[in-house]
Amino acid sequence: MKTQARSNNLWLDAFKRLVRNRMSMLALIIIVLIVLMAIFGPLLSPYDYTRQDLLNTNQGPSLEHWFGTDELGRDMFSRILWGARTALAVAFISQGISFGLGILLGSIAAYSGGWVDNAIMRFADILMSFPHLLLAIFVSATIRQPILKSFYGVYDRTGWDIFRNTVFIDYFIVFGALAAAGWPWAARLIRGQILSLREQDFVAAAQALGARHWQIIRAHLVPNAIGPIIVSFTAGFGDAMLAESSLSYLGIGIRPPGASWGAMISESLIGWRLHPHLVAVPGLVLAICVFAFNLFGDGLNDALNPRSKVR
């Protein structure tokens, strides 16, 4: 290894490696654009994304409608902007739930050991033996009725309209389905991290010096485990977006009037021959987004684990 100016900050080093990686910077630019689109796009969108204009359906791209209009005359550009919000919000929240559950159950498993560890990890293993999308599909088909029923119950008691809002309910079903299929992977990662870190000399040293449990967790476990967690969260982000659009494509995710790129593709697929742009635009946008997140996840992985790089 060449002698370098030594820096004490691991995070700064990782950040420098990340910035030097041109592909991940490109991915980061795309991601920032998508995030801005998701946050501000709906405010700037030229039309209401649910407004139908039956006199101007299936139009090609024009100055008034940049991406044309769909089969109900809705402005495609506005729907794409709203779709960005759906895709990002669902991916972020469902990844958040998966990792929240994973951190909770993974650390319980690692700390209690014995039969608790066995029970949690065996359950996780069995869930991981389902094909990911198939499990998400099955869970979403299963929880739809119970969720509908309980939400209507809440509506009856409170009178809050949001509990009858089908798009709001769809969001919860997708969160449930993606979290059910996603948490075992997070739990396995976190359990493994905790178990291997506990074997490290610096933890043994801290214990020997009389450090308390939570001190070890705060000073050693969290800072060391956070890198792999961030990498796996980012790497899984693109997959979560894909899973949302797949469920929506299949008609069991976010359904109209909500805007999802997956649902937009499936609605326009019948007319692919006459109006190819209606399928191509949401498809390309989805593909570019997922690609950007995967690329950035790879770059982050290389930056945080410089030794793992294969080349």
Binding site: Q145, P146, S246, A280, N294, V310
Partner: protein
């Protein structure tokens, strides 16, 4: 070796039971009254009659009794009947018919993936850092992330509308029909590029090993170095990815078969979802998962032939 096989198969039993248990209990607690699903609008409104029906179908029995009877039925291949998609038809028959189509399609896809993917990976590894390698590596980074329901319309637009190379073709008339070309391309392209990348990386890795240098310094011909030393070691990670590839093919077939109207397993899942045919959804989930478990087992059983160290593990 035999001991290893028996051990691997025995390890699978609790997992299979766990998978059945999870699908059954989700179905038991989840979607509401199974009678309502079976009978739909013909559900009798008279409570006494409803009670008799529950007794008739054994739905009044406690959970564990129902579960063991479900296992017994599964062992005989009985997975209940479809309610909506093909009313009253046994799901077993529907699955059998669909799988015959999907196995052809998926088998052909898997064959193409490995027969084309591995040589392309070797080529990229030996031409490392040339334009050919860059093209292959960038495609392998880009295309596997594109979902089939995006790839399918884009390729339809490209091949049918723009280039006019293929007729717009939907339906299924066997594997050796022009209508199978586009679905196969869409199924194959992502997983194949994963195999290419995997092969390339593990061959580059293997080429740096000492045993390769030793073999070369002893004057072993390069193609023999490749076939005897490099390939055998480099294939282990590729073999590991096989389970993942088959899982991808299964999920991919869901989209490809529904888009192209191919009456296979994926189409069956799709139809079940669209019609909310819960017994069918349950049956396809279960069988899909068992297929993946079986293919993972197959990979495990193939390991010792590639890596002699495994059988002691």
């Amino acid at each position: 070796m035999l001991q290893y096989f028996i051990k691997r198969i025995a390890q699978l039993v609790p997992t299979v039971l766990g998978v059945i248990f999870i699908t059954f209990s989700l179905g038991y607690f989840g979607p509401g009254d199974p009678l309502k699903h079976q009978l739909g609008e013909r559900l009798p409104s008279d409570p006494a009659q409803l009670e008799r029906l529950r007794k008739h179908y054994g739905l009044d029995r406690p959970f564990h009794v129902q579960f063991s009877s479900y296992i017994g039925k599964l062992a005989r291949g009985d997975m209940g009947i479809s309610i909506v998609v093909q009313s009253k038809r046994p799901i077993r028959d529907m699955l059998g018919k669909a799988l015959r189509t999907s196995v052809q399609l998926g088998g052909a896809a898997a064959l193409i993936i490995f027969v084309l993917g591995i040589p392309l990976g070797i080529l990229a590894a030996y031409r490392k850092n040339t334009w050919l390698d860059y093209v292959i590596v960038s495609l392998a980074a880009l295309l596997p992330t594109v979902p089939p329901f995006v790839l399918a319309p884009l390729l339809l637009i490209l091949f049918v509308l723009q280039l006019k190379l293929l007729p717009a073709s939907f339906g299924w008339a066997g594997l050796f029909d022009s209508r199978a070309i586009l679905p196969l391309i869409i199924l194959v392209i992502g997983p194949m590029l994963i195999v290419v990348r995997q092969t390339r990386n593990s061959i580059i890795e293997a080429l740096t090993q000492d045993y390769v240098r030793t073999a070369r310094s002893k004057g072993v011909l390069e193609h023999k170095v490749l076939s005897r030393h490099v390939l055998k070691n480099a294939m282990i990670p590729v073999l590991t990815s096989m389970g993942f590839i088959i899982s991808g093919l299964l999920t991919g077939s869901l989209f490809v078969e529904s888009i192209f109207g191919i009456p296979g397993f994926g189409k069956l899942i799709y139809d079940g979802l669209r019609a909310y045919d819960y017994p069918l959804i349950l049956g396809t989930t279960l069988v899909g998962t068992l297929i993946i478990l079986a293919s993972n087992l197959l990979v495990d059983l193939l390991y010792p032939f590639f890596d002699p160290r495994v059988q002691f593990g």
